[in-house]
Symmetry: C2
Subunit: 362 residues, 2 copies
């Protein structure tokens, strides 16, 4: 899909074929902090008296590995409330090009899957953008969304001097990203509110800004952009291609996240029960402190970036659909980024936000 | 997954990446005959008084193209009964390795999609075998399954002299396939019955046997096996690999299909409302009669076979996970089969069965 007047490409899917499952340990560590909130939501959510399945939605599931622990935790709490007989339906959503086969293989085959030992649980998937309503109205009792809503629905602008807006000095890009971030957050909340049952809860874990407005990841973003500049210098990509490369993600501050709700704490029949920005530990740096293996340090952050954002950057290649050029670009960008990081390891701040939203009666 | 004491591989998925969508016109023509039955089922099924979504399940959806017309037809009838506001949920199921991205792209992007112009319709997918219960109990109002239940849950036996049991002279293979076909059909019915609401309907279109027990496709199966023998003769596959190649599909006779229901017409709380074996026209032969293009005739049947069964045959390669060897095998098998068909075009019988089953009160 093409979007926007400047023909900025929309976000690409993750790399697929299990790459996200294998290289998302940063995300796994970060989301662990939100699991207690999800368990509390499972205790507090309103359950219908009917025998209908209880629906848990997982918005932005990717290949599923990182959803297993939170979903299993919620199921364990729900089972205390509804017993073992009542059916539970789990709906994992992501963009159409996400690797749903990897997701289903993970659900059926991973020893940590919530299907192992669990009875009367029915997983399914929806391959549509969560900026639309994609589940029936008033159907979801518990919603979970981890490392997903930082992805904007479209590229709001080019970033002339960087690939991520947080590193840019460009005022136009900052304004365009801020406006899109606000629009998309409200759209996300609106659609989820339609899907939630009254008394249902939605737990969100997302990239954030610190109180001073810092997105973090300084060393990683510097090495990423520096590596791309290396490729341009060597002629592996053109200056025009580099100028089109954009990562359409944003960190939102706590104020950004609660802004729609206003003084009355109500937006689209949702209320904020919890909203907190916290700093996740930099596990990749911690491992480096232990093993002092700078090559491994660089390789880990580069693999993280490859799995999460390189396919999106590759959309700027001309043509963007030459598989061997895309593969070469991704491999080369990863290698240059890893080398730059290995040359000068340093720790990163990882600001995250966790929220609990409750669906109110109209 | 490996199954069975003889370590026969389980069925492989279709080829994916849109190949099935592009090369399934034989299936599309055959299933058209079942759409009026599905429309009648949509008129006759019992609808709940609640405002819950009406659930339509599509068992064995592959990449979705062939599901658009029947689902749209059922939705049109349902809309006459429930109006435009009540939500409809469409669940497409197939094996985990099916190409669900192609499915979701088809649903969102195909001009014939039931989502085009349709409001309050929510598609989802389930990547699990329909020989298990994969949807909540008593949740499905209308079920559709086209060109799917001929696939057995496992390879029941080797076929020493052929790749399809219908061409084989081997009594052991015939007995093993017949037993598995009976077991799987009963298993399929049992699971669907759990998922259907009382008063719901399930429409099945599947490969069948004529009254005399003929599976049809004689010229196609002869060219397929002959082409594989060519590959073995040229050393592209070994005799051992050829001997392991099996297409785990069966045609069932009308008697086979209604056998579980017995004189009381009841099995697993299901009753047969309609059961009919019919001969579908051979569209590929009809086109040859018009254009007399024998190469195109051969290529069309070979593409049909490639999209539907070659990936399964490739599981017999040793090793089976060498992508370039698999690709070479598939391309070469397709070319040899096409050449053999082009040398001597002839029409095929295509026996199909269509059934309507109703869920009874317990």
């Amino acid at each position: 899909m093409k979007t926007g007047e400047d023909d900025h490409p929309a976000p690409a899917p993750m790399e697929g074929r299990g790459a996200y499952n294998r290289n998302s340990r940063v995300q796994a560590a970060g989301l662990a902090a939100a699991i207690p909130l999800f368990e509390k939501a499972a205790r507090n959510c309103t359950l219908s008296d009917s025998s209908d399945p209880v629906v848990i939605a997982d918005y932005g599931a990717s290949e599923g590995r990182n959803s297993l622990a939170p979903i299993a935790a919620a199921i364990a709490i729900l089972r205390q409330r509804i017993g073992t007989e009542r059916e539970i339906s789990i709906v994992h959503t992501d963009l159409p090009d996400s690797d749903f086969s990897a997701l289903f293989r993970t659900l059926v085959g991973d020893p940590d899957s919530y299907l192992c030992g669990g009875e009367n649980i029915y997983p399914s998937a929806v391959g549509r953008s969560f900026y639309e309503q994609i589940l029936p109205s008033n159907s979801v009792t518990l919603g979970w969304s981890s490392w997903a809503v930082q992805w904007l629905s479209r590229m709001p602008a080019r970033i002339p001097d960087q690939v991520h807006v947080s590193s840019s000095q460009d005022a136009v890009a900052h304004a365009a990203f801020a406006a899109q971030a606000d629009y998309d957050w409200r759209m996300f909340l609106n659609q989820r509110s339609r899907e939630l049952r009254v008394g249902g809860r939605l737990v969100v874990l997302t990239m954030a800004l610190t109180w001073s407005g810092d997105f973090g990841y300084h060393a990683v973003l510097r090495a990423l952009y520096g590596g791309l500049q290396d490729l341009a210098f060597k002629g592996e990509i053109t200056a025009e291609e580099l100028s089109r490369m954009v990562i359409p993600t944003v960190g939102r501050s706590r104020s950004d996240l609660i802004a729609p709700f206003g003084l009355g704490n109500r937006f689209a029949d949702l209320a904020v029960e919890h909203a907190e920005v916290f700093l996740e530990a930099d596990r990749i740096w911690q491992q480096y402190e232990t093993d002092r293996d700078s090559k491994a340090y660089g390789a880990r952050w580069a693999a993280f970036s490859r799995a999460s954002v390189f396919p999106t950057l590759a959309l700027a290649l001309e043509p963007a659909d030459d598989p061997s050029r895309v593969q070469n670009f991704i491999a080369s960008a990863e290698a240059h980024m890893a080398a730059r990081l290995a040359a000068a390891p340093e720790p990163c701040d990882i600001p995250l936000a966790k929220l609990v939203l409750a669906k109110l009666a109209t």
